[in-house]
Subunit: 363 residues, 5 copies
Amino acid sequence: MSTVRRLVHPNPSRILRTQDRPLSCPLTTEIGLTNYSRQAETVRLDSIEPTECLSYLTAESVSWIDIQGLGREDLLQELGDVLNLHPQLLEDIANVPQRPRFEDYDDQLLMICRMVKANDEANGFDRQQVSLVLGANYVLVIQEALDYDSCFNKVGERIRRNKGTMRKQGADYLLYCLLDVIISGFFPVLEDYGERLEELENEVVRDPCRHTLERIYQMKRELLMLRRSIWPQRDAIDRLMREESPLICNEVRVNLRDCYNHAVQAIDMVETYREIASSLMEVYLSSMSKRMNENIRFLTVFSTIFLPLTFIVGIYGMNFEFMPELKWKWGYPVLWLIMLSITGCLLFYFYRKGWLVQAQSDK
Amino acid sequence: MSTVRRLVHPNPSRILRTQDRPLSCPLTTEIGLTNYSRQAETVRLDSIEPTECLSYLTAESVSWIDIQGLGREDLLQELGDVLNLHPQLLEDIANVPQRPRFEDYDDQLLMICRMVKANDEANGFDRQQVSLVLGANYVLVIQEALDYDSCFNKVGERIRRNKGTMRKQGADYLLYCLLDVIISGFFPVLEDYGERLEELENEVVRDPCRHTLERIYQMKRELLMLRRSIWPQRDAIDRLMREESPLICNEVRVNLRDCYNHAVQAIDMVETYREIASSLMEVYLSSMSKRMNENIRFLTVFSTIFLPLTFIVGIYGMNFEFMPELKWKWGYPVLWLIMLSITGCLLFYFYRKGWLVQAQSDK
Amino acid sequence: MSTVRRLVHPNPSRILRTQDRPLSCPLTTEIGLTNYSRQAETVRLDSIEPTECLSYLTAESVSWIDIQGLGREDLLQELGDVLNLHPQLLEDIANVPQRPRFEDYDDQLLMICRMVKANDEANGFDRQQVSLVLGANYVLVIQEALDYDSCFNKVGERIRRNKGTMRKQGADYLLYCLLDVIISGFFPVLEDYGERLEELENEVVRDPCRHTLERIYQMKRELLMLRRSIWPQRDAIDRLMREESPLICNEVRVNLRDCYNHAVQAIDMVETYREIASSLMEVYLSSMSKRMNENIRFLTVFSTIFLPLTFIVGIYGMNFEFMPELKWKWGYPVLWLIMLSITGCLLFYFYRKGWLVQAQSDK
Amino acid sequence: MSTVRRLVHPNPSRILRTQDRPLSCPLTTEIGLTNYSRQAETVRLDSIEPTECLSYLTAESVSWIDIQGLGREDLLQELGDVLNLHPQLLEDIANVPQRPRFEDYDDQLLMICRMVKANDEANGFDRQQVSLVLGANYVLVIQEALDYDSCFNKVGERIRRNKGTMRKQGADYLLYCLLDVIISGFFPVLEDYGERLEELENEVVRDPCRHTLERIYQMKRELLMLRRSIWPQRDAIDRLMREESPLICNEVRVNLRDCYNHAVQAIDMVETYREIASSLMEVYLSSMSKRMNENIRFLTVFSTIFLPLTFIVGIYGMNFEFMPELKWKWGYPVLWLIMLSITGCLLFYFYRKGWLVQAQSDK
Amino acid sequence: MSTVRRLVHPNPSRILRTQDRPLSCPLTTEIGLTNYSRQAETVRLDSIEPTECLSYLTAESVSWIDIQGLGREDLLQELGDVLNLHPQLLEDIANVPQRPRFEDYDDQLLMICRMVKANDEANGFDRQQVSLVLGANYVLVIQEALDYDSCFNKVGERIRRNKGTMRKQGADYLLYCLLDVIISGFFPVLEDYGERLEELENEVVRDPCRHTLERIYQMKRELLMLRRSIWPQRDAIDRLMREESPLICNEVRVNLRDCYNHAVQAIDMVETYREIASSLMEVYLSSMSKRMNENIRFLTVFSTIFLPLTFIVGIYGMNFEFMPELKWKWGYPVLWLIMLSITGCLLFYFYRKGWLVQAQSDK
C-alpha cells in the first residue's frame, strides 16, 4: 500500500512572473547510481530499477543514488522499501515545494534544499527542490526536474577522475560535497544581481525612464525570493552540523562549517542587495520629485516673463479715445524699451535665484 | 453551580469590513460523536446529549466528540462534568475570540486554533475559533459556528472508509490529523491572496485607477489579520510537540513536526506577501508622482508655446499711431513666419529634452 | 524617621494633550479595608487609620487594604510600619509614575500596574498607577487617585455577595482577581480605538479633510502610550507567574496564566492597530497626491483648451493694414468653426487619454 | 614607567552642532577626597596629591576620591599606583570617549558612565564621561571636565549633613548613590525634550515655517545621541547588579535594581520621543503636500475663471469687418451678462466640489 | 599534492564604484619574519622561503610570520606544511573574500579580518582581507595585498624599540596587538565619514544641489559596506575571547575585552551614521517638496495678479460700437486706478496669507 500522499499545497511562486521555475516538471522518474570505493573501479548506472541498487549497498563502498523527476510515485515507493526509508521522509521528498530544512530520522538524515541556477535568457534564475538523504553507505539525491546539465556533474567528474580525497572518504563527505555545490550555486546568481543593480543605479541617477520603477520593483521581489531560498538553508546546515548523529564524522563537521560560512556569506550579499534596492527606490522617488520641480520652475519662469508683457500690450490695445500715449511719436519704441527692461529685470532676478541655471542644465 | 463565566471581551475583528467572520454564530450547540477502533464498526451519532458520550469512552476505542456552536452553556457545562474537564479549560473554550495557544491541564491538552476558509463571494476569508481537547481516549473538537461543510469532514470520511493507518492509531494521531487539516486550510486562502496580489501588481504598473490604493490597503490589512491567526498557531504546535505529556506518543511527535513545518511555510508566505504589498504601495506612490510629472510637463509644453505667440499678436493689436510694421505690405505674412519659426524652435527644444516623446507616450 | 523619599521624576505623559491623566491627584490619602473568610461575615471599613488594620491581619481571614491618593506620606509610612514593608517597596509605591513591573521582596510581592479607563468626553483614556502588594494574608492596593467608580468595585461586590469561589480562596486569588480586572480594563479602551480607527479609515478613503492628518497622528501617539502601559505589564505578570514564592499557590498560577494570555491578546491588538494606523498615514499621503494630480489635470485641460483659442482671437485683433481674412465676408463664422473644431479635437484627445472622465468624477 | 596610553579615537560627537560637549576639557587634574564613617567627623580635602589619600584608606571609613579633568597623566598614574589599580583600568579611565560599560577587575569594579546636564542657553545638553571605580573602602570618581556645579554635590551634602542612612553604609552604597544621581540626571533633560517636542507638534500642525524641518531633524539627531548614552548604561547597571563580587552586599543590590528600573524608564522615554519625532516628520511632509495642493487649487480656480473670460473679450477685440454683434446696441451689456453668468456657473461648480471653501480657509 | 582549492566566488564589492578595493592584488607572495624574545636580539627577515622559518620556531621566542599577496599557491602550501596547518585553514586563507570570522583548529586559531584604510584621493576607503593564525609560538599574518605602508608597521616598530611590555609577552599578546591595530584602523575612516556627513548636512539644509541626492545615496551605500566589514569582526573577537584554548592566557583575555569594546564602539558609530544618513534623505525629500511649493506659490501669486488685469484690458480692447466707457474723458486714468487697487488688494491678501514673505525669502 502506498503511503506517499501528495499534498496539493498552493505554489507560492506562482505570483512570480520571473522564470524561477524548474526547467521541466517531468512525469517520469529517472534513477541513476554511482558506486565508488577506495580501491574498486567507479561504477555508473543510468535509468535503473530501484531493486538494482540493492547489490551495491555494501559497507565497503559508497553509493550515490540520484533521482530526477518525481513523476512516478510507484518507483519512489519501491525505492523507499529498498532503502527502508521512513514513510514521513518519503512524503517530504515527494511533495514539492517544501521549505528547506533538516530532519533527523535516526537511520537517515534528510536535507531539503533549494538549488538555483542563473538563467540569462529570462534575466532571472531557475529554482528547483533537491532533497538529500544520507544513509549508512549511501546518499540519495532527489531532484524535482530532469536536469542533464546539473551542477552535480562536477562532483561526479571528481569521483570518476579520483581527484582530491573524494574516494577515500565516506558517504558523509559526499553529502558535504553536494551541499557545497548547491550553496556555491547561489554566488553566480548573486553576481548577476550585483551587475543588474549596478546598471539600475546608473539608470536611476543618470536617466530614469518609464520602466525604471518596474525594474526596481522586480529586482526587490526577486531578491525576496532568493532570500526565502537561502535563509532556511543556513539553519538546516547549522542543525546538520550540530546533529549528534553517528552518520557524520568529525572531519566532515569541519567541512560543513565551511559550507555554513558560505551560506552566511550569501545571505549577507542578499541582504546588502536588498538594502541597496530599497535605497534605489527612494532615490528614484527623489529624482522624480526633482524633475517635477524643474518642470514647474520652467513653467514659472516662462509664465512670469510673459504675463506682464501680455498685460502691457493689452493696455495699448484698448480703444479709449483719450489715451495720450497712443498719440506720442515715440510711444511704440519707448514701450519696447520698457518691455525689454522688464524682461531683463526678471531674468536677472531668476538668475540670482539660480532658477535659470538649473532650468537650463536639465537635459 | 456553573463556573462557565462568559467574558465580554471586545471583538478585535470588528474593525474589519471583510467577511472574515464565522459563518453563523448560532445560539444552539450541536454535539456529535464518532467512535472507532481497529476492529469494531465505526459509530457516528449526531445531535446527542453529553451523557450519551459516556458509554463510548473506553480505553479500546477512540472517540471524536465534535461540538458546533457555543450557544448553550448548560450543555458545555454538562459535557465538562462528563469528561471531567478543568474549569479554566471550560472557560477558555466557551469564550471567543481567544488567542491561538496551547495549554497543558495534565489530564487534558488544549489547543486553541483559528480555522480559515476562502470565501469567494466576499473576496476574503471566513475565520472561526476551533478548540481541540485531547483526553485519554478522546478528542473534543469545539467549533464556534455551525459549519456543515467543515474541512473536518475529510478526516471523518477517512475514518469511515478505513483509509490509511487512521483506525490503527490513538487519539493523539486523530489530534494531529485535525491540526493538519486546519493548517492546510490556510494554503488555499494564501493561494487566493497570491492571485489577487498578482492582479494588483498588473493594475499598479499598467493602469492604476482610483480604487487601486484602497485595494492595496485592504490587502495589507487582511494579510495582517491572517498573520495574527497563523503566527501564534506555530508557537502552539511547537509547544505541543515539545510537551512531555504521556498523552502523545513519539510516533505522533514526528507527524506533528511535519505539521509545524507547514505552519512555518504558511507564515513564510504571509510575510512574503506582506513585503510585496508594501512594495506595491511604494510603486503606486511613485507612479502617481510620475503621472503628475507628465501632466505638468504637458501643461508646460503647451503654455510655453502659446505664451510668446499670444504676446506677439498682442503687440500688433496695440493702437499706437506710429507703428511702422502695421503699414508694411508683407508685415502680416512675415509675422506668421516669425511665429511659426518660434514654435518650431520651441518644439525642437522640447524634443531634444525628450519631453515631447514622453508626453505623447502617456496614454 | 521617614524613608519615603519622593523623587521628582519628570512626568513623561505631560507632552500628551489627551486626557490620559488620573482623574484627580488628591492631597489626601484614604485607607479602606475589606476582610473576609470562608465562614465569617465580610467586614468593610472606610477611611480608617493604619493601625486599625492590625486586628484584622489574621491567618484565618484575607484582608484587602485599599489606599486612594498618595497625598499624606505620614499615613503611608505608618502603614508601612504596621505591615512591615521593605523601605524600597514603600518608596516605589509613593513615587509616580513608575514603570509597570514586578518586584519580589521575600515577605511581600509588589506588582506595579497601569490601569486605564475609557473617557468618552475627552475622546481618550484616563490612566493611573496601581500598586498591588501581596503579603501573607492581605493584599494592599494603592491607587494614585481617588476613584469612587473604580473597576475594583466589581471584585468587592463579588466578595460581599459571596459569588464564585472568591471567599474560599486566599490572598493570592484576590491578587489574581484584581490583576484580571486591570488587564480586562484595557479591552473597552481598545474597542474604542478600533471604532475610531474604522471611522478614520472611512474618512481617509472617502473624504479626507484638513483635520484627518492630525487625527491619524493623534491616534498613533495615543496607541504608543497605550502600548507603553500594557507591554511591561505582560512581563511583570510573566515574572509573577514564574516566581517561586510560597505566597502564591499552584492553583492560582493556572489562573495567572489566563491573565497573562489576556495581556498578550491586548498587546496583539495594540500592535495591529498601530500597523493599521501607519498604513492609514500612507494611504492619506497617497490620496493627497492623487487629489493634487486631479487638480493639476483640471488646470491642464482648461488651459490647453483656452490657450490656442485666445491666441487665435489675438491674431485677428491685430491692426495690420493688409490682412485679407479680415475683409472676407465669411471670415468671422469660419473662424468660429475653426475654433470649435480645435476645441472638439482637444476634448476628444483628453477623452481618449481618460483625463476628462477622471476630472469629472472627482467630487 | 607609564602604561597610560592615550588612544586617539575620533570624537563621534564632532558632527553634532549641539552643545553636548563637556563644559571644559581642562589640562589640569584636580583630586579631592571625602572621608566619612559612622562615628567620626566627615573629612573633606580639595586639590590634594595622590599620596595624601593613603592615610584615609582604612577599613573603618569610606573614602570618596573625586578627580576632575584628565589633563595630567602623571597624577593619574601616581594615583593608580597608590590605589593599586589594574593598568587596563587606568587606560580605560584616561581615554575619552569610551562606551558606557561595566568591567570587573577582581579587586576593583569599573563603571564607565555618561552624565548629561540640560544646557538651556544652547537649547541642548552637556555630556561628559564619568568613571566610577569601586574598591574595598573607597569609590574613585573620575570626571572628564572641571564641573564645580556637579550634581554629585548633592550626595556630598547628604554625607556632610548625615542625612539618611548614608554614613552607616559602605562604599558600595556610595557607588549606588552616585549612579542614581547620574541616571536621575537624564530626566530633566528628557523633560526638556518633551516640552520641545510639544512645541514642535504645535508648530507642525498649526504653522510649519521654513525652519520646522531643520528643528525636527535636529531633535531626531539629539535623541539619537541621548539614546546612545543611556542604552549601554542600562546594560552596565544590569551586569553590575548580577556580578557576584564580594565588593557589593545584597542590600545594595536591591537598591541597584531600583537604579536599573530608572534607566529602563529613561530608555522608554527616549524611544517614545524618537517614535513621536519620526511621526512628526511624516506629518510635516503631509502638511507640505496639503499646502501645495491648496496652492495649486487656488491657481486652478483663478485660472479657470479668467481663461474663458479673456478668450471672450479677445473675440470682440477682433477686427473682422463683418461681425454683427459689434454693431448691436445691446452687444456690450449682453456680453457682460454672459461673462457674469459664466463666472457664476464656475464658482458654483467649484463650491460644490468644495474647492472654494478649502481655498478660503487656508490662512 | 596541493589541497589549496581556489573557489571562484563572485566579488560582492564589484557593484561599488568607490575605491574600497585592495591597493594592489599582486601575483607574488612575499614572506617576512620577525623573531623576538625577552633577552635575545629581535630578528627581521624579508622575502624568505617558507623553510627558513623552521629554525626560528622555538618555544623560547615568538615568531611573527607575515605574508603579503596570495599570488603563489605553492609557497602557501609549502608554509602550510612547515607550520603543519589544517588543510581547511589553508583553503580559508587562500580564498578571498571571506566573511570575517573566528575558527578554532585545535592547534591553530584562525581570525579572518577586514582591514580598512582611509583613501583621501578616492574619497572612500581601501579594504583588504587579513588572516591571523595563532600557533604555539608564532603568529602568521596573511595580507591580501602588498602594503608597504601597512599599519602593522607600528607594531613592528614597538617590538624593535622594545617599547611597552611587548617582548615580555607571548604570541597571544602579539595577536591582540595586531587585532587592536586593525580595529583602531576603523576610527580614522569613521572620522572621515563623520566630516562628510556634516558637510552633507549643511548642503541639504542650506543649498541642496543636483548632486546632493547622489552623495547621500553613495554615503549610505558605503556605510553599509563598512558595517558589513566591522559587524562580523565583533562576533569573531567575542568568540576568540570566550574560546577555552590553551593558546590564549587569561591576561590577554582582559586585553581582548578592550579590543572587543572598541569594535562595539565602531559599530555604534556606523549605526548612528546610518540613521543620520537616512534622516538626511528624508530631509532632502522634504526640502525638495518645500522648494516645489515655493515655486508653485510664486507662479500662483504672479498669475493671480496678472490674470484679472489682462482680462480688464481685454475688455476695453473690444470693438463694440456702443461702449460708453471708451468715450469718457477720464475712462483711461480711472481704469488705471481700478487696476492698481485690484493689484493692491491681491497683494494685501497674499501678504496676510504669508505667501509674499516666503516667496521673497526663497533665495
